[in-house]
Amino acid sequence: MTNKRPSVVVTGANRGIGLELVSQYLADDWQVYGCCRRPELATELTGLAPNSALSIHQLDVGNPDSVKKLALTLSEQSIDLLINNAGIYGGERQSFGDIDYAQWTRVLEVNTLGPYRVSTALANQVGNSEQRLMVNVSSAMGSIERYTTGGHYIYRSSKAALNMVTVNLAHDLRSRGITVLSVHPGWVRTDMGGSSADISPQTSAAGLRQLISNATIKDSGRFFSWDGSALPW
């Protein structure tokens, strides 16, 4: 046993839920690797950096070379928890008859392939840690069961596909003792969720941390809401 503090990698750490997760894990005395596309513009994240437990890394999960570079930088670290939080919505043209296919490509690259890239690139570091957890920040909007209205095709399909990445990673990483979850962070007051959303980033992140800390390998490959309840595919 070591008395080393646990460590977490958070992608999309510059704002919203990612930033709040960084802040709460720091407060809980974790070693935090905060990743974002443009660290030079991430003033709120860099504002937390005087805390020596936080290091900030440039990462565009939509870019395979950027992911490889991060994996190289972190090659000697053990990572207890990887939170694939980086995600984009994909703009307004997501309705039948007015689909923006270039945006759809970009959203799948970031929301679906991105978590696959980061998870495979850091699987050894997670597999060598104590807690061995990977969490994909999905959305209830990616639940096929609950989708009854039409529209929002780009974002929703990227999250259904991400849920399938979770199911497949859970299967492929089980032998290494790694637990992989999809989580719904709630409808959160962020740049993406808007100001009229249900819950604050603080409430969402606290709920997510609680459900992550309760997760065991038996939960691997499942889909949970921020309040710990199970969601249907």
Partner: protein, 228 residues
């Protein structure tokens, strides 16, 4: 006289759909990627079948066929075109370019076909859209687990099928997805459970019975409901 438009009609399930509907007297529009590949075309030589050059990854080709068929009601649109990469779909081996190509064909291709042909389907008597998915697209079944590009693109296809069912309800269009079973085609290989004839014959019998009550469902070739 009923009419059907089928993508990926040069082989496997698509070819069998074309053949069975033509034999039943339907007007068949067969979308094939390469009109000049002799073997493809030969199998589609039937007085009821018209071939169209149609690679669903090429939206200009979709729009061009839609313009040619602008005045033609389509009773049934079968989005069948698809492919699978075998072991190159597995953990750590996925080629990301090919992964995106599967999204382009299975997901974007289906959506673009629906967008381009929605008026023709609305003008048809049956008003049916059938998307050929896969048990691999079920998050619950975990069949064929490990094929990342194929499984993710089929799960995403299932999601948009559910959305299309909702969006096209006002036009009385029924949208379903099918898992055709494990069929002996070029894609699955000879060890599969069903012949293309058996699978397509069963699906055609179910398609015959489809109406608005079934819209937004995921069905096995024999009509059983498949969990998402």
């Amino acid at each position: 006289m009923s009419s059907v438009l089928i993508t990926g009609a040069s082989r496997g399930l698509g070819l069998e759909f074309a053949y069975q509907y033509a034999s039943a007297g339907w007007t068949v529009h067969a979308g094939v990627r390469n009109l000049h590949q002799r073997s493809d075309i030969k199998k589609l030589q039937h007085e009821k079948i018209t071939c169209h050059e149609l690679d669903v990854a090429k939206h200009d080709q979709i729009l061009s066929v839609a313009a040619q068929l602008a005045e033609e009601p389509i009773d049934l649109l079968i989005n069948n075109a698809g492919f699978w990469l075998g072991k190159d779909e597995h953990y750590g081996r996925c080629d990301e370019t090919q992964w995106m190509e599967e999204f382009q064909v299975h997901l974007f291709g289906t959506m673009a076909m629906c967008e381009a042909f929605v008026d023709q389907v609305t003008a048809g008597d049956r008003k049916l859209i059938v998307n050929i998915s896969s048990g691999n697209g079920s998050l619950t079944l975990e069949s064929g687990i490990g094929d990342y590009p194929y499984n993710t693109s089929k799960a995403a296809l299932n999601l948009i099928s559910k959305g299309l069912a909702a969006d096209l309800k006002q036009r009385d269009i029924t949208v379903v997805c099918f898992t055709p079973g494990f069929v002996a085609t070029d894609m699955s290989g000879p060890d599969a459970d069903l012949s293309p004839h058996e699978s397509v014959n069963a699906m055609c019998a179910i398609i015959d019975t489809l109406g608005p009550e079934q819209t937004g469902t995921f069905l096995r070739y024999n009509g059983e409901t498949v969990p998402w």
